[in-house]
């Protein structure tokens, strides 16, 4: 018994909380890009909050259930439909054997999380069920979903039931214009003071090249680099460094032109100078940005970043408390 994929959607993958401990070998964190919404979807169906779900990007899949199940959708405003009839998001509901779950067109945000009670039961690889597409492992046979795939579902927990709803105040906030808080650092000293000011003043738009690896931004002023003789081994472009590790959330600017924020399927290192890092609390916000959505980068220090992190954790705790019964 399983869920059959009729239409895969644009980029639907199996994801969970992600895998840790292998970044030094080039294996990224992977996992749901919007961790808050992912947890919300799981808690709505009575799952362990780290169970594997489907991450649906921009265009949802069409799925035929070969068994009854409890499901919930959280995250982007991508309304679920059951046999063509609209169903509520951020609320669990039952599906019967033979039902077809599909999605309306996206209204806001970029990624919706479909949780099924019992979780998507693909094999655990290196501690996680998350798909790592570049490495072709994890998730459903190491790739995004295709028509005809049969997704195994685990055994629902005792808390699986329909009608569990998430209060409006705890639903994700989806905006077309956002502020992304950044801690300047890493190779920030390599850009001119004028460029540093420009970077934080300009309004940046999400480019079409925005995916699980990284989000590219454009329409800001090009960044200029301080003059120097390039160090041995770094490469000739002033935006080049001796290849180094890239932190999750770090911002690189190849050629000084279009900043790229690395996300959970990040390339783990390379030769482009990073000028700072988006704070952990704002990575979920990036996950919900569509192409052409606008962002301004806001400079913060460690103290502010840790406060934002504490606020984020408090909100996740509130989510757990609200959905624990």
């Amino acid at each position: 018994m399983a869920i059959e994929v009729l239409k895969p959607g644009l980029a639907t993958t199996v994801q969970d909380a992600g895998r840790e401990g292998y970044y030094h070998l080039g294996i990224p964190l992977s996992g749901a890009l919007d961790q808050y919404s992912f947890r919300a979807a799981n808690l709505l169906v009575g799952n362990d909050e780290n169970a594997a779900v489907l991450e649906c990007t921009l265009l949802g899949p069409e799925l035929a259930f070969q068994q009854e199940a409890i499901v919930a959708v959280a995250g982007a405003d991508l309304q679920p439909k059951l046999n063509g009839a609209p169903m509520p998001a951020h609320e669990s509901f039952p599906v019967k054997k033979g039902d077809v779950l599909s999605f309306a067109f996206l209204k806001a945000g970029a990624r919706a999380y479909l949780a099924v009670a019992g979780g998507i039961d693909v094999p655990v690889v290196l501690g996680s069920r998350s798909t790592y597409g570049l490495g072709a492992f994890g998730g459903f046979t190491g790739r995004g979903l295709k028509p005809g795939d049969l997704l195994p579902v685990g055994k629902p927990g005792p808390g699986a039931r329909g009608g569990r709803s998430l209060a409006a105040a705890l639903r994700p906030v989806l905006r077309r214009e956002v502020e992304l808080r950044v801690m300047p650092g890493l190779y920030y000293h390599r850009i001119t003071e004028q460029s540093a000011r420009d970077f934080f003043e300009d309004v940046w738009s999400v480019a079409p090249e925005a995916d699980r690896i990284g989000y590219r931004y454009r329409h800001g002023r090009p960044l200029r680099w301080k003059e120097r003789k390039q160090p041995f081994g770094a490469g000739s472009d002033p935006s080049n460094i001796v290849d180094a590790g890239y932190p999750f959330g770090s911002i690189q600017v190849p050629g000084g032109l279009e900043p790229i924020v690395l996300h959970r399927d990040a390339v783990s290192g390379g030769g482009y100078a990073m000028i700072g890092t988006v704070i952990s609390a704002d990575m979920d916000v990036i996950a919900q940005m569509q192409p052409n959505n606008k962002a301004r980068f806001v400079s913060v220090d460690m103290e502010q970043a840790l406060q934002a992190r504490a606020d984020y954790r408090a909100r996740t705790d509130a989510l757990r408390a609200a959905l624990s019964s």
Binding site: E20, G21, Y22, Y23, H24, L25, G26, I27, V125, Y132, L134, G135, A136, F137, G142, M183, G185, L186, Y188, P231, F232, G233, A234, G235, S236, N240, I241, V242, D243, A244, G245, P247, F248, G249, S250, V267, S268, G269, G270, G271, M274, G276, T277, V278, I279, S280, A281, M302, A305, L306, R309, R313
Partner: protein
């Protein structure tokens, strides 16, 4: 041998990034290995990733468990106490067969000529010329004639960055493509700046392409014997010696790799940076003997 003090920076609220040197050197790499190995041994609660790189390293941590400023002070203290004793490394030397100037990378590079500095040459012809070698054959001799250090693993799963173990004036240096390619064959031997690499998966890339190896180095299915323990083969600190092979040998090796029977020549070796730096050529001869002795 003095590198000067390292530069410390926070990468957001979850990372500390440490640049040991702006420029690449074996000394910087060894210092990074020594410090990251010490961090591993200390098993500091809250540290989730320890990533050595060429001339830098980064640590990922949970700030709820270890305060960022405390962790940074700990790393600075480690740097201060690192002595010369750490300049020795128990490692392994591996022979990697390469079909230089192979048809697949040649076909690929022809598709991306407009992104190249010298559209009229192949990548290896260009690299031979800018490094002042009389011919491609001479260049291949240089590329395969001395060992290389795996100084970083990453970019994508299991991709080794390789640093040539010769005096700096002899090191091969080639600019990266003007604009990165959107395609690189799996197991391409690439080179950019002073680093060679082996592309572990097919995909985008900006390094010049010199050839291809039949040896799988990353395989989630773990089919060949040396990948049975883990899907990624290379570790920072591995030593690699390239061996030119012909097409017939390449085809035999690929068939063996597909059958799961292909194996690599791998020998354990103790590497001393100090002794290497005294006379790299002589030291490399010794490494060669380890590789081919019994």
């Amino acid at each position: 041998m003095s590198l000067g003090p390292a530069r410390y920076s926070f990468g957001g609220d979850e990372h500390i990034f440490v640049e040991l040197s702006e420029e690449m050197s074996l000394e910087a790499f060894f210092k990074g290995m020594a410090i990251t190995n010490a961090v591993k041994r200390l098993a500091i609660p809250g540290v989730t990733e320890i990533c050595p790189a060429n001339a830098s390293y980064q640590i990922r941590f949970k700030p709820e468990v270890v305060k960022p400023a405390d962790l940074m002070r700990m790393l600075q203290a480690l740097e201060a106490v690192m002595g010369d004793s750490e300049l020795e490394l128990e490692t392994r030397i591996i022979e990697v067969p390469v079909l230089y100037g192979d048809p697949w990378t040649t076909e690929t590079l022809m598709r991306f000529r407009e992104r190249h500095q010298d559209p009229k040459s192949t990548d290896i012809q260009y690299a031979a010329r800018v490094n002042h070698y009389a011919s491609v054959d001479e260049f291949v001799k240089a590329h395969s004639g001395s060992p290389w250090f795996v100084s970083m693993v990453g970019f994508v799963a299991g991709l080794p960055f390789l640093f040539q173990m010769v005096e700096r004036e002899r090191q091969i240096e080639v600019p990266k493509y003007l604009r990165p390619r959107t395609d690189t064959p799996k197991l391409t031997i690439g080179h950019g700046g002073c680093f060679s690499c082996v592309y572990s998966v097919r995909g985008a890339g900006g390094y010049q392409m010199f050839g291809i190896t039949p040896a799988p180095i990353f395989d989630p299915a773990q089919r060949v014997p040396y990948l049975k323990d883990f899907m990624v083969f290379f570790r920072p600190g591995d030593i690699v010696k390239f061996k030119p092979i012909d097409r017939a040998q390449y085809d035999r090796d690929v068939a063996a790799a597909e059958a799961g029977t292909f194996d690599l020549r791998i020998r354990p070796v103790r590497f001393s940076l100090r002794r290497f730096l005294v006379n790299p050529t002589a030291y490399n001869h010794g490494l060669e003997e380890v590789l081919h002795g019994n």
